[in-house]
C-alpha cells in the first residue's frame, strides 16, 4: 500500500549511488564512450555465444561497480508486461527459418525465432544493466558533462552542445523534485476520495479522466517552476548562446586510457566471436 505512493522507488535514472569502485573512478566521458560502443556492438550480436559472452562482460561490470543487480533491474518493473508481450510476439510471428520446433495454426516457433527472442531478451538486460551501471556510478552532472564533452566536436557543425547539455542537466535536476511533487498530489487526491471508486481497466475514457486530477496540477506546477527558474537563471547572468567558461576541468589519467582500450578490445572480441 505504502509503495503506491513512493515514486522515487521506481526512478533509478538520475539517482547516484555513492561508492569508490574502479567504475566510479573512471572518467565519466570515458565511461559514457565505453558504454555507447558496448551498446552499439551488442545491438549487432546475433548468435548465442557472442551474447553469452556479452552478458558475462556486463555482469562483470555490475560486480565491479558494486551496484545491487536487483535495484538496477527495478527500472524494468513497470514495463515488464509490455516487454513480455513483445517477446511473445517475436517468438510466435517471426519468419519461419531453421527447424520448426512447435506450431499451431499460423503460429510457429522455429530455432530462428527462438534465437531472435533469446538474444532480444539478453540484449535488453545488457542495455538496462549497462545504462544503470553508468548512471548509478556517475553523478548526474557528470553524466551531462560527459555528453557535452563527447558531443563537443559537433560544435563545429553549429550544434549548440552546451545549451543541450544544460537542458539535460536541468531536466535531470528536476526529476526527483517532480517525483516528490507527483507523490504529494497523488496523496492529496487520494485523501479527497480519489481512486476509491475504480472504473473498469478497459474504460479508457474513465481511466483518463481519473488521471486528470493528477496530471493537470503537475503540469501547472511544472510551468510555474520553469518560469521561476528562467528568472533565477537570468538574474545570475545567464544569456543563451553567450560564451561561458566551465568550472569543471577534466584530465584523463592512465586508468581512463586503460578503460578505453579494454572497452574497444571487448567490442572487437565480441564482433569476432
Amino acid at each position: 500500500m505504502t509503495d503506491d505512493f513512493e515514486l522515487l522507488r521506481y526512478i533509478t535514472i538520475g539517482q547516484y549511488l555513492p561508492g569508490n569502485s574502479i567504475i566510479h573512478r573512471i572518467d565519466p566521458a570515458v565511461k559514457l564512450f565505453s558504454a555507447i560502443i558496448l551498446i552499439l556492438t551488442i545491438a549487432f550480436l546475433s548468435n548465442y555465444v557472442a551474447n553469452g559472452f556479452a552478458l558475462a562482460v556486463v555482469l562483470g561490470l555490475v560486480a565491479l561497480s558494486g551496484v545491487p543487480i536487483g535495484y538496477s533491474l527495478s527500472g524494468l518493473r513497470p514495463a515488464v508486461w509490455f516487454i513480455m508481450a513483445l517477446l511473445l510476439l517475436e517468438l510466435l510471428f517471426s519468419p519461419v527459418r531453421g527447424t520448426v520446433l512447435w506450431h499451431y495454426a499460423f503460429l510457429h516457433v522455429s530455432t530462428y525465432s527462438l534465437r531472435l527472442t533469446t538474444t532480444s531478451l539478453l540484449r535488453l538486460v545488457d542495455f538496462i544493466l549497462l545504462i544503470s551501471v553508468f548512471t548509478l556510478t556517475t553523478r548526474t552532472n557528470d553524466v551531462t558533462r560527459a555528453m557535452e564533452r563527447i558531443s563537443s566536436p559537433l560544435q563545429y557543425l553549429k550544434v549548440p552542445t552546451r545549451e543541450l547539455a544544460l537542458i539535460m542537466t536541468i531536466a535531470l535536476r528536476f526529476v526527483p523534485t517532480f517525483a516528490l511533487e507527483m507523490e504529494r498530489i497523488m496523496k492529496a487526491q487520494a485523501s479527497r476520495g480519489g481512486g476509491l471508486t475504480q472504473a473498469s481497466k478497459w474504460n479508457i475514457v474513465a481511466q483518463a479522466r481519473a488521471r486528470l486530477p493528477l496530471v493537470l496540477p503537475l503540469f501547472l506546477i511544472a510551468l510555474r517552476r520553469a518560469e521561476d527558474l528562467v528568472i533565477a537563471m537570468e538574474s545570475r547572468g545567464y544569456v543563451p548562446n553567450q560564451e561561458r567558461t566551465a568550472y569543471r576541468q577534466y584530465r584523463l589519467v592512465r586508468r581512463d586510457w586503460v578503460a578505453v582500450a579494454v572497452a574497444v578490445g571487448v567490442c572487437v572480441g565480441l564482433v569476432l566471436v
Binding site: 500500500m1 505504502t2 505512493f5 513512493e6 522507488r9 547516484y16 549511488l17 545491487p68 535495484y71 527495478s74 553523478r139 548526474t140 552532472n141 551531462t144 544544460l166 542537466t169 536541468i170 535531470l172 535536476r173 526527483p176 523534485t177 516528490l180 504529494r184 498530489i185 496523496k187 492529496a188 487526491q189 487520494a190 485523501s191 479527497r192 476520495g193 480519489g194 476509491l196 471508486t197 486528470l212 486530477p213 493537470l216 496540477p217 501547472l220 506546477i221 510555474r224 517552476r225 521561476d228 527558474l229 528568472i231 533565477a232 537563471m233 537570468e234 538574474s235 545570475r236 547572468g237 545567464y238 553567450q242 560564451e243 561561458r244 567558461t245 566551465a246 568550472y247 569543471r248 576541468q249
Partner: protein, 597 residues
Amino acid sequence: MIEDYYQTRSGNQVDDIIAVDHLTFSYVEGTPVLHDVSLAVPQGSYVALLGANGSGKSTLARHFNGILLPNAGVVRVDGIDTRDDANMMAVKRRVGMVFQHPDNQIVATTVEDDVAFGLENFNLPPDYIAERVTIALEQTGLLPFRTRPPHLLSGGQKQRLAIAGTLAMDQPILVLDEATSMLDAIGRREVLSLVRQLHNAGTTIIAVTHHMDEVLEADYVIVLHQGSVVMTGTPREVFRHNQRLHEFNLDVPLISQVAGLLHETVPSVPSEATDIEEVVMAVLDGLQPGPDALDDGRDSGHRKAEPCISVCDLAHEYLGGTPLAHMGLVHADVTILEGEALAIVGATGSGKSTVMQHLNGIYRPQSGTVIAVGVDLAQPTADIPKVRREVGMLFQNAEDQLFEQLVGDDVSYGPLQLKLPLKEVRQRVRYGLNMVGLDFETFTDRPIYALSGGEKRRVALAGVLALKPRVLVLDEPTAGLDPASAQDLFQRLHRLRDEGVSVVFVTHNLEEVLDLADRVVIMQNAETQGSYPVEELIRDPDILTQHGFEVPPILALQQRLRQQGYAVHGRTPRAVVASLLQSVTILSAEEPSGGVR
C-alpha cells in the same frame, strides 16, 4: 579577465546604491502594479520591503536587477540606468537575488556546480571560479555538502546555497525576495544569521517580507500597499502605527501588540516597543504587582473525550529494500481526542509529516499500530475508504492540487467520488464553501485562476470539508500565506473545532500553536517527545527550550513578568494584557489614574 570583472564592481561611488525615481510598471496595460514609486537605498544599509500579497513588492524587487524594466521612471543601480542595454551584465553583476521557492532557483545537480553557475556566466577562468566556490561554501557552512545533489538538502540549506551563489560572485547588493517564507524556524534562523553576517561585512541588504520579526532586523522599512509606498521609517516608527498596518493587511510583532494594548490603559508604556525588556521595564515602572488573582480553575479542558485516532509505537522506513532506504520515523505515540485541536510541532525532517500521513491510511503501519476512527490500519482488510472519508487531510500548498476550472467543480470532486446523489453533492459543496467563508452563490461558478492565493487555499480546504470529516488534518496550513490570510484561515479552524471536528495540524510556528491548539505533540529526531497541554507550555516555556525550540516572544515576556512577581497568563496579546491588568494596581505617576477605560 578578473581585473575587468572587478573594475565593473565599483566603478561609481554613489551614496544611494539603488535609486528608484517615479517608477510605474504594469504587466498588462492599464492595470499598473507599481504606481509612481520613488525610494533610495543607501550603500551598506539593511532595508525591509514590507507588504501583503499583491502589494507589488516582488515586482518592485525584480526591478532592482533589471529583470523587469520600468514603463515610466528610472531605476538606477550603483548609478547605472537598468534600461541601458549595454550595461545589462554590469547590473546583474552587482545584484544577487534569492527567491522564495528554494527549489526553483537551483540549476545544477550538485552544490558546488550550482555555486559556480553565475561565475561561469561571467566567463571567468576555471581556477578563479574554483577558488571563489570554495570561499563561498566555507562562508555559508556548506563545504561538507559540496558534492551533494540539491534535492537532498533542507530548505534552509537550499537558501544558503542560493546565497552562496551570490557570495561567490562577490556582489555588493543582496535582494531576498521572501527568501525565508517557505522555511521552518531553524532554516529561517540559519538564513537570517548568514544575512546579518553579510550585512556586517558591508553588503547592502534588501529583504522583501511579510514576517514582522524579520523586519526588526532592518535599519529601515518601506511599506508597500497596492503598488505605492505608503509608509517609511525605522521599524519602531512603522510599528507604532498598529492600526494603519492592519489596513494594509499587515501585522505588528506580538510584543508590539502587547505594548500597544497596554499603552491604552497605562500610557507610560511606549506603544511602539518591539523589545521584551523594554516592555518589562515599562511595566515595572507603571504597575504594582497585586495579589495573585489568577483563577487556576480555568482549565476548562476537562471534557472527558474519547480518542478518535491512536498511534502507538509507530515506525516507518522510506524506500525500504533499496540502497536509498532510511528511517523516516523511529518511534511515535500520538493520541487524538474527539473534538480537540492538536498541534504536531518539529523541525523539517523530524518525522511529523510521516506521522501525519499515517492518520488517514496514506501510509500503512510497517510496525506499530494506528487505529483511526475505529479502523485498525495494520489489517490488510482495513476499510480505507471509510478512513479517508472521516479523516480529511489538507496537504502543504494545497492550492497546487486544484485541477478543475470552476470552484464548485473542484470542491465537488470528493463527494462525487463517494457516488453521492447530485442533490447531496450540491449540499456538500455548499457546506464546504460555507465553512471556509466563501459564499456559495458568488463563488461556485468562479474560475479558480481568478482567485487570490489565500482564496485558493480556502477552496482546497472546502474540497476536504465537503467530505464532512470527523477529523481534519492539516500540514503547514499557513505556509506561504500573508498574515491576513493566515489569520482568516485560523478563524475557520476555530469554528470547525467549535462544531466538534477534531483538528490536527502540523506546524513549526509556535504562535499558531498558541492560537488554536489544546495540546501539542513535540517531535525531534524522528521520534515523538511526549505531548503537553498548551496551558502547561504557557506556564513553563522551558519545556520548549529543552526540546530545542526558541521560546516565542509572547511566552518569554510572560515568563519575565512572572519572575518579577506579576500574575500573567494568556495565549494572545489581548489575553496577556487582560490577565496582567486584573492583578495589578496601576501606579499613578503624573498621569491621572483613570482605571480601566
